[in-house]
Symmetry: D2
Subunit: 258 residues, 4 copies
């Protein structure tokens, strides 16, 4: 699918503030950037780097009212969908760079869920079968409700409260997968057909020798996702991280098939 994705973010920085931004489409094999434009108004010096895995990170020091705009046309037709079956790898078989994604992180305390995960999902085969069991659990047990979680909410809290938004669904799915010895990570994305339009957070799991994108909220088709960044959880893929509080004036996200 060819997708036109765009973001316009307007912030007010009361004093000079260092920022890390993750809003550009990632440079990965499963998507091709046809065209794109990033502008910061008024103009400020931006430092960009491309991280491991193709994430593009921008850094700047901003002050006053600043508009960050990004628009890209992306062909994500190279993306494969999670197959109906696929093998789980032993830790020894896993590529070294996937091992980090077995470990607990800020919002995904998978260390606390070992007993639960084995009891609940231990009979569900392995690999894709377990991932499907996790996704089915999420679908049956979590309600999509705005306002019951905050940016500090962890997967343990979501497990108790049983409601949240895409970020919370993603964190709990990641947590269960890691507790089941399946590498899992968080991916931020533009998402065609997401209502209301917003940055989306989804999951990527490593089975059958490959990372596979999945959306535990089932709100946006994986075929319509444009990847932005990946990391251990939301802490790593925030579209804006700042060293001081700042004020969001407006945020407009869009993604449509073209």
């Amino acid at each position: 699918m060819k997708v036109r994705a765009s973001a316009e973010l307007i912030y007010d920085f009361a004093e000079p503030t260092q920022i890390i931004g993750l809003i550009e489409a990632a440079l990965t094999e499963d998507q091709a950037i046809i065209s794109e434009a990033l502008t910061v108004t008024p103009h400020r010096a931006l430092l960009s780097d491309v991280g491991v895995g193709g994430d593009r990170r921008m850094r700047a020091c901003l002050s006053g009212t600043v508009t960050i705009s990004y628009q890209a046309d992306v062909d994500n037709g190279h993306r494969l969908l999670l197959p109906v079956s696929g093998r789980q790898h032993s830790w020894s078989e896993l590529p070294a760079d996937t091992l980090t994604f077995l470990l607990p992180s800020r919002f995904c305390p998978s260390d606390q869920f070992q007993r639960y995960a084995l009891r609940e999902f231990g009979q569900a085969g392995d690999g894709v079968a377990r991932v499907m069991a996790v996704l089915d659990w999420i679908d049956r047990n979590l309600d999509y409700v705005a306002g019951v979680s905050t940016p500090e909410t962890t997967a343990a809290q979501t497990f108790t409260v049983r409601a949240g938004v895409c970020r919370d669904f993603t964190h709990l799915a990641i947590t269960f997968c890691r507790a089941l010895s399946i590498p899992a990570r968080a991916v931020s994305a533009y998402a065609v057909d997401l209502q209301p339009a917003d940055f989306h957070a989804v999951v990527e799991v490593f089975v059958e020798n490959q990372w596979w994108l999945i959306d535990p909220t089932r709100l946006a088709p994986v075929e319509g996702l444009v990847r932005i960044a990946h990391g251990r959880d939301a802490a790593d893929i925030a579209f804006l991280t700042t060293n001081k509080p700042c004020q969001l004036i407006s945020q407009t996200i869009a993604a449509e098939a073209i």
Copy 2:
């Protein structure tokens, strides 16, 4: 200093258990391995890889009673001590691979400490001066007490309870540094003169263009440390991570100057 470090770990694995072990001295520029030996008894296939930054990770599938022994003579004389002053870098100046260590992690929820850190340490200059202020705070406010914390204890809990062990001291120091925009990470180590002898957890901060090792417990001289592994917090540097519960039979750690 030349250090002879050794570890003998005996575990009982009730069923075949996948493990990741981090007990070998790291291959880094600031230490040289003179000789070393790693044995697993009874003999099992081990997979070893050397990660980014020189950490050596071993992987295996173990069952029954297994003894893991490691002994190394290491010359760590290439290590520099934290200077009395040194500049803090803006986010734009930082090397890309240090940025991860600005972000919150499982046991270091630095996102919750921004207000406190600025209020408490905001006047303490920057760079080394801030690090020294953090270390001084830790020294004045935390009691070294075994038994008040668990492997699940976070820096937020330690901040409240005001007591813990090396792991807790390290997590709180890291948390404060990150909240102050200083990259900080956890390092596991063998430590000469540590009483009682054990694996040690210390902090590494990035200022003045370099990572510097520091021990917030002040229990072991940095000159006597042999690095093992580094990561965002204790979750990344556990000497043994397993996919199932197992039983520690005995653990003997030693480190002495030679």
Copy 3:
């Protein structure tokens, strides 16, 4: 001071919902109710009881859109202000019904603060002197900021985040007092001059043989408070507790000197 206090609460109950309401002025020796009126529109059966300490609790089963209105003129001129000095009681001297307020509760985990409280406030004399030290700490260290806390926020989280609203200030002050062996409880109140007008949460401490009202936010003079209910923390004094989610349509609180 004679105070006219009023509340108008409009809720929508999607299905029959059991409620406990605590919005009427308490029947206590330190305030006299001159006149009052409670109405529920449309009319529903209300069960009222007067609890230990004079709190008036109403119970009902409500559905549809319901308006609860209360207006009272209250003379609170019998209230004494915290004296400049006053003795702290040993546990053996305390009246039996104050002992509950030494113990931790849902939002006031004072058990975790024993070490901190003794270190920070241990030199501050006892009784009123310690209470004053706690209030001074709160004033110096907490920022009054709406939106950083939720109804689930505990005093431990507020201690880390260093900001909150009246509920959070009250919880942390109570927590410190209990950790210092001073009985402390939460009181809901109408408050003259509170901006913006709202139900207020304040603290009551037991020293010098008596309970004393204090406002750790310093936003409303104690002389202008009309007591509603007291309890271990916000869980006990919520103006509305329901057994199902419901929707607040509007809430108008007022209190003025007459």
Copy 4:
């Protein structure tokens, strides 16, 4: 059943320490004390009071090494067992003094479990049927394991970790019941046949116009329980609460049918 219960607690108090002790059999209608003796060696002044509901609380200021011994013969034959069916009361029908036990407390954050409880137990009828569904859930989902919890563990943590001891089983059962609008409280007890012998923590629920004792661990028959104290959770019924750290030298608890 006639039960001989005894406790011998030896503590070392490094400095004068205020204590509240709850180790004597309660004075309630459902048990009769045949004989009893409480001694403190060396002799210290004890203050005793009988609280609401018959709990007997002792207070003292202790220092040095102190032995507290209690022995009682109790006839608990007046206790009724939870019937196979029984009605749940609406909030308006409940006796006023049971309402506190609907609210969340330090270790039982029932406010966070409303959505889960309704989803999991909402179809299980009401009253005794719901209580039985809760007990069945606890039995199927929690493992009795010493060492995975601490005195700070909350029911939310136990819900995630799925293991604990009697205190944790009790807290989670109470939490579920409260989230289902059933008053529930914690009771400490001597328990015949408990292995290993120790103080026991059980649950009391209010249905069918009465409080009923139940043991969610199923480790000790309710017929063999001698009540000590009741409260909102373990914070209220600790056999020893102190205002300073102290050291337990030994603790010997016994209960046998006579």
